[in-house]
Symmetry: C2
Subunit: 206 residues, 2 copies
DNA sequence: CCATTACGCTACGACTCGTAGCGAAAGCTC
DNA sequence: GAGCTTTCGCTACGAGTCGTAGCGTAATGG
């Protein structure tokens, strides 16, 4: 690093081009899917030269990660009054994103690629996963303030529990949507929140 | 259908070729991953002609599904005495399969492709998912006989609950392994089984 | 012996990849 | 404004893969 100023010299990169490329990527994901998506096609759709695209992204994986990551910008966790309501709300939001075809075909594909590419996995973690995990921590802390969950004593244990909850929630919604191919509707979400709160053995309030 | 006999006329297909091709597919998945896996390479590794491969599989997706499906043959559910032990056992088995690189890179990739290909999704469901789901039903019925879980009244409700459990268990393990990239070890499995049985709010026995 | 099917091999056009080279455009600093 | 720097669009390229067609041969059953 020889300087921290964002744009330094010469012609600046067109921000419009980046926007158009990412939008074109999502459009192509919807129309042709991951495996048949070609960077040449994306460039044409975006109205830029193929070389411009390669100057900014090293390949298909990185491009799709960035294109899909923008879909998760809308995730947030308004206070709905109770832990159960908060869970149901965020799950429905997450499911709504996964319902979009550009997310379905793109997200799983880059996750699959990331099993052989540590840099790609880190990029996914930063731009997609971490944003989701923050909601878990936030919702958990809120529930503790409400007295719905016991407060943490050991901070390491707290982090492990947050990771566990995150994997369970995100994993269940993704699996339901992409593998089982069944809808994440209000009824399922209610059952899921009940299971998460009271368990299989517990007696959930109706 | 003009006959039901399995082999009818002419030279029969070599069963050795099928075995070699599927093994070569897994080998290639380990070495080059999904995206750089080419059918020509697989054919060379298997010692068969590329045309032979195309005569049996319509493309990369179908081939990888069959190659990965064989990994799940080993899944079973021995009676470990309690529901918690059964859950921990099957989760560890499932995690052991997902720990193999040919499963990691192959499974998620075909799931991603299946979001745009209903026939492929059905093939995955038949040869991979259904086998896993049977274990859930089996473990659940065992736990009910033990008195660990309440018996079902409505059969439709029972099926929905089994689907829910399946999505939660499989989803959590897959997410932990592939997205979070953290190990599914004994400690995690114990925490997960506790959460599944007693919930966030419940007081799990140590 | 003959019909039928699978096999190995070669060759093919079509497509995509990622890069190089070029001149023009768009900024900044002086 | 002059001059420097970087990005842009465009064209062209060799390399690699795709999926198929065509051919002669091998392995079955009637």
């Amino acid at each position: 690093m020889h300087s921290r100023s964002p744009a330094r010299l010469g012609r600046p990169r067109s921000t419009a081009a980046a926007t158009a490329i990412l939008a074109a990527t999502r459009e192509a994901l919807v129309e042709v899917g991951w495996s048949k998506l070609t960077l040449g096609d994306v460039a044409t759709r975006a109205g830029v030269a193929k070389t411009t695209l390669y100057r900014r992204w090293s390949g298909k994986n990185e491009l799709v990660v960035d294109a899909v990551a923008e879909l998760f910008d809308e995730l947030e966790l308004p206070d709905r009054g109770s832990l159960a309501a908060d869970i149901e709300g965020v799950v429905l939001q997450f499911a709504a994103i996964l319902d979009r075809p550009e997310a379905r075909s793109g997200l799983m594909a880059v996750v699959a690629e990331s099993t052989r590419d540590d840099a790609l996995r880190e990029r996914i973690r930063e731009s997609i996963v971490e944003r989701q995990k923050r909601l878990v921590v936030q919702g958990r802390s809120r529930a503790q303030k409400r007295g719905e969950l016991p407060a943490e004593t050991d901070p390491g244990e707290a982090a492990r529990t947050a990771d566990l909850i995150f994997d369970v929630v995100a994993g269940a919604v993704v699996h339901r949507t992409l593998v089982s191919a069944e809808p994440v509707d209000a009824e399922w979400v209610r059952s899921f929140a009940g299971l998460l709160l009271y368990g299989l053995a517990g007696d959930a309030p109706v």
